[in-house]
């Protein structure tokens, strides 16, 4: 198993390295002079040159990449092009924490809900319950979050004032009540997108396991249905949902961009949209790189958990 995980980790490192090249190349090598875009058309050649020198944009691209990567690993993520030209790192890390809170809240709601729905739909295959779950997931999966988000805001926050839910969310303070109050709507919005995806995969996974011969073996041992389902079927059927959850986490980080905008929540996604509009390169690079890193980490964690629970890999 150690070999397996070492291999996965190494592979992930390679992937991260290539991803960093892609990110750098996309933001830097494409046409358009950043300095001119930031400083505007009337800027003098002198000002442009100063700007390029200040941010190291005058160096050859490979050199810039190496500088950026080394700096990134050392915790120096560059400075913002605009405003006070503040260092990027504290800004992004602060926003990252906010986004993580929202992502966590979402996972806590959506994973149990959608896995539960998927299991129920599979066990009640071809009944109205199954039909209802699949219709629900067909209806909400793929609906842009700004549509579902606006429905929730206008329906629950503005529509039912008694609930006392805010239409725009702020970072929750330490209390559980505030977590729920501030984050429930954005988390629900994200859940609506995830639930279709996860429940559908869970249902397919459970159905696939149910058709395997070992289930018949268990039934013909005379085990109660409860044992057959919980001990034998779900033990195997839920293994893939670990990976799915990790993938959802990655999706969540991307998906939160829109949700944070809908709820005016000060997360990393909102910062990214701002940065993109200002072409604030170092901020963009930092956010994308950090996201990719956490996505990769989630995948590695999923691999570890998967390996621990799957004897075929654990005993490799």
């Amino acid at each position: 198993m150690v070999r397996y995980l070492a291999r996965r980790a190494l592979l992930l490192a390679v992937t991260l390295l290539i991803a960093s090249v892609i990110i750098f190349a996309l933001t830097r090598l494409l046409p358009g002079d950043v300095a001119r875009l930031i400083l505007g058309r009337e800027a003098s050649e002198m000002a442009l040159a100063n700007f390029r020198q200040e941010f190291g944009l005058d160096q050859p691209a490979p050199q810039q990449y190496v500088n950026w990567l080394v700096g990134f690993l050392a915790g120096d993520w560059g400075r913002s092009f605009t405003g006070t030209k503040a260092p990027v790192q504290p800004l992004v890390v602060g926003r990252l924490g906010n986004s993580m809170r929202l992502a966590l809240m979402t996972l806590v709601i959506s994973v149990p809900l959608s896995v539960g729905l998927g299991i129920i739909a599979a066990l009640r295959e071809n009944t109205w319950v199954d039909a209802a779950v699949s219709l629900l997931s067909l209806a909400v999966v793929g609906l842009p979050e700004f549509v579902t988000g606006l429905v929730l805001i206008n329906g629950l926050a503005l529509g039912v004032r008694a609930l006392g839910l805010p239409a725009t969310s702020t970072v929750p303070d330490g209390t559980l009540a505030d977590w729920v109050r501030q984050l429930i709507l954005p988390a629900l919005t994200a859940t609506l997108v995830l639930v279709g995806y996860i429940s559908r995969l869970t249902r397919a996974g459970v159905l696939e396991e149910l058709r395997k011969p070992y289930v018949r073996t268990a039934v013909l041992k005379g085990l109660p249905t409860r044992t057959v389902i919980f001990k034998h079927v779900l033990r195997n059927a839920l293994l893939p949902t670990i990976t799915v959850t990790a993938l959802s986490f990655g999706w969540l980080i991307g998906g939160l961009v829109v949700i944070e905008n809908v709820y005016n929540y000060p997360g990393m996604g909102a910062l990214l949209v701002e940065a993109v509009k200002q072409r604030n390169l170092f901020v963009i690079q930092a956010i994308v790189m950090v996201t990719v890193f956490f996505f990769a980490l989630a995948n590695l964690a999923a691999d570890l958990l998967y390996a621990l629970l799957n004897p075929r890999i654990r005993l490799e």
Partner: protein, 688 residues
């Protein structure tokens, strides 16, 4: 007469379709006495597995019992509640399933899964149940039961997995044991050992057993009573010796005759049953076998014959059984002689020669290890030299993992051998497919194993054959001539012209294989490599394809490299035989030499493990202990020494054995002198 343990009376079963129900099993009655081993034999789709599970009171979620009843010692199983059935399952009624790896839960240890049975039924504590599980593993002759109990299913070999399922099935002392094709996935040497084990254990437990199989050889070796199922109906039921010695039903007669036997020889063709079994949906109204029956009379097509008792314990469903028994009607015409086949047995020249062929997988480079994790080097083919003589057939036999398929693929070029020389018709043949000339491609064609993916499902049979003609013909053919050739090819493989416009989905497995043979012969190749071409087919269909290959060899003057795990099929077709074990050839010689005087201890064991379709012949004498080592860790010295019943001593473990000539081209790779090995064969009591 003792009271039967299990008795089915008039059982009919249906499967649910999108609209309504489809009858799968019709009016089946059978009973099994204590200690009886009842064989249920039938081809695929005959309903045998469905029926077997029904005898346990188990219905698949999409199945129902539409008539009849099943009694377990006088109690009607289908009147019981689910809870009552659960109390019987695993304790009174147990199943030994077909695919043992799939039938075990991959997430739990062997011990845990066996212990589950006694914990459920006897209320044993976790510790006591575990202890009992270990004892059960010892009872199925597992050498190290304590450590095996702690292992997971995927860590065990196929034979060991099957032992585990037996241990599980027997752990609560069942009254009825249902064995559903339990050895089908196993190699013949392992199968022989497992069959011995079944026999002993069923005796020990005093259970009744239902043994389901498509393999008439296995049934003959283990059962005392046999029921023959065809298209969901019982055709015949008889004591095993009687059924094999004096089959009465035309289907039974045809089936038994169509099995190739080592002694069939090269001079004859196999008798065959024409046509294919009907799909469940369109079974004929009269006798279900009538459309394929050589003795069918007009009323056979309209009136369903009753199941009649013709002797104690012997029932037959045929209108004409009187005439058949009295010899007034012959079902089998004398097997016709095959077209004269003159193999140039000792000819010096060869169609194909391969020298020192090697192919190793895995262990290639750090990058592959990083991304794929396959660090083990597997020497699939290791220094193999073979030659196929003009107009003859080289049969290549060996267990799974012996490298026979890899060898064939290296020869045709689907895999590129790492090393070695190839020659086709005395011209060097590049190891890489892309470097071979068009003429060489034409001369070397292949027939594949799986009939279901051998033809492109999106093309008609005609289009497939036309493309082969277009690519392989020496001169370009104008379209009308191509069409003409397609029809000729279809005729050669005994298919009517209307097949040209059919899609593969409309063909049966045997028909698909015949089209595949036609495709291989599109441009009169010199050598056709056939990799297990009949192993996915039913016995009665297999005979048709084997005959076809035999006829084409004579008509077209082609040679074959014929690969099969089924030694009887190889014996039917091959003039020369090479036996492979763990990537190397251990014995080669003419078919007669290898079968009549198998000299290498492995060949000897292999041949004596064949389940002979004749209950009067005791099973072979030699059993191999242990499993074949994995191809990734090949033993030192002689590769067979870990299982060899004639191991000499340390020399076998350290030195690779030399090739020894046994005369007439017969060669053996063994440390024991060839003369000594041959003498052992002559003195041993011959089984046939």
């Amino acid at each position: 007469m003792p009271n039967p343990v299990i008795e089915a009376r008039g059982v009919s079963m249906d499967y649910r379709l999108e609209k309504g129900w489809l009858n799968a099993v019709r009016d089946v009655s059978l009973s099994i006495n204590p200690l009886g081993i009842h064989g249920l034999v039938g081809e695929s789709g005959s309903g045998k597995s469905t029926l077997a599970l029904a005898l346990m009171g188990y219905l698949a979620p999409n199945a129902r019992l539409s008539g009849g009843a099943v009694w377990l010692e006088g109690e009607d199983l289908f009147r019981k509640s689910q809870a009552e059935l659960r109390a019987l399952w695993g304790s009174q009624l147990s199943l030994v399933p077909q695919d043992s790896l799939a039938a075990l839960n991959p997430a739990y240890t062997i011990g845990d899964q066996i212990a589950e049975v006694t914990r459920q039924h006897f209320g044993l504590s976790r510790r006591a149940a575990w202890q009992q599980a270990v004892e059960m593993l010892a009872r199925v002759r597992i050498a190290d039961p304590t450590s095996v109990a702690r292992q997971y299913p995927h860590q065990l070999s196929g034979g060991m997995q099957q032992r585990v399922t037996i241990a599980m099935a027997l752990s609560a002392r069942p009254r009825l044991l249902v064995l559903d094709e339990p050895t089908t996935a196993l190699d013949v040497t392992t199968e022989a050992v497992i069959l011995d084990l079944f026999r002993e254990l069923i005796q020990e437990t005093q259970a009744a057993a239902l043994y389901v199989s498509h393999n008439l050889g296995v049934i003959a070796q283990i059962c005392d009573q046999v029921t023959v199922l065809y298209a969901g109906e019982v055709m015949a039921s008889a004591p095993v010796r009687e059924l094999y010695a004096r089959p009465v039903h035309p289907y039974t007669i045809g089936l038994l005759a169509s099995i190739p036997r080592p002694t069939t020889g090269v001079e004859t063709r196999l008798p065959t049953i024409p046509g294919v079994a009907p799909a469940l949906g369109d079974r004929p109204p009269g006798c279900v076998f009538a459309p394929r029956c050589p003795a069918a009379l007009p009323h056979c097509f309209t009136d369903k014959p009753p199941l009649e008792m013709i002797a104690p314990g012997h029932q037959v469903r045929c209108h004409r059984w009187h005439e058949i028994v009295n010899g007034d009607v012959a079902i089998l015409t004398q097997p016709e002689a095959a077209a004269p086949h003159v193999a140039h047995q000792l000819a010096a020249e060869s169609v194909l020669s391969a020298r020192g062929l090697r192919k190793t997988y895995g262990g290639a480079g750090w990058w592959r290890r990083l991304t794929r994790g396959s660090a083990r080097r597997v020497r699939a083919v290791d220094d193999v030299t073979v030659r196929v003589r003009p107009q003859s057939t080289l049969g290549l036999v060996g267990e799974s993992g012996s490298g026979k398929t890899t060898l064939a693929r290296c020869i045709v070029g689907l895999e590129t051998a790492d090393d070695g020389q190839l020659e086709l018709l005395a011209i060097p043949l590049d190891r890489r497919l892309a470097r071979r000339s068009r003429a060489q491609l034409r001369e070397l064609q292949m027939v594949f194993q799986n009939p279901n993916d051998t033809l492109n499902p999106y093309r008609t049979v005609g289009q497939t054959l036309e493309r082969a003609l277009e690519r392989l013909s020496p001169q370009p053919l104008p379209p009308d001539q191509r069409r003409q050739r397609v029809l000729e090819l279809l005729e050669v493989v005994r298919l009517t012209p209307d097949y040209a416009d059919r899609y593969p989905a409309e063909l049966s497995g045997g028909e698909k294989q015949r089209v595949a043979v036609a495709r291989a012969f599109a441009a009169d190749p010199a050598l056709v490599v056939a990799d297990e071409p009949t192993s996915a087919l039913d016995v009665s269909v297999q005979a048709v394809v084997l005959n076809l290959l035999k006829d084409l060899r004579a008509q077209k003057g082609a040679s074959y490299l014929f690969i099969s795990h089924d030694l009887s099929a190889v014996a039917y077709l091959a003039d020369w035989i090479a036996v492979m074990y763990l990537g190397q050839i251990v014995e080669e010689g003419t078919a007669e030499q290898v079968y009549q005087r198998p000299s290498h201890p492995y060949t000897e064991a292999l041949i004596s493990s064949i389940p002979v379709p004749d209950p009067a012949q005791a099973g072979g004498r030699i059993r191999l202990t242990g499993d074949a080592p994995r191809a990734a860790d090949i033993p030192t010295g002689c590769r067979f020494h870990t299982r060899c019943p004639r191991k000499l001593g340390p020399v076998c473990e350290t030195d690779a054995p030399p090739w020894q000539e046994a005369g007439g081209g017969h060669r053996i790779r063994c440390h024991i002198p060839a003369a000594e090995l041959l003498a052992l064969q002559v003195s041993a009591p011959k089984s046939d």
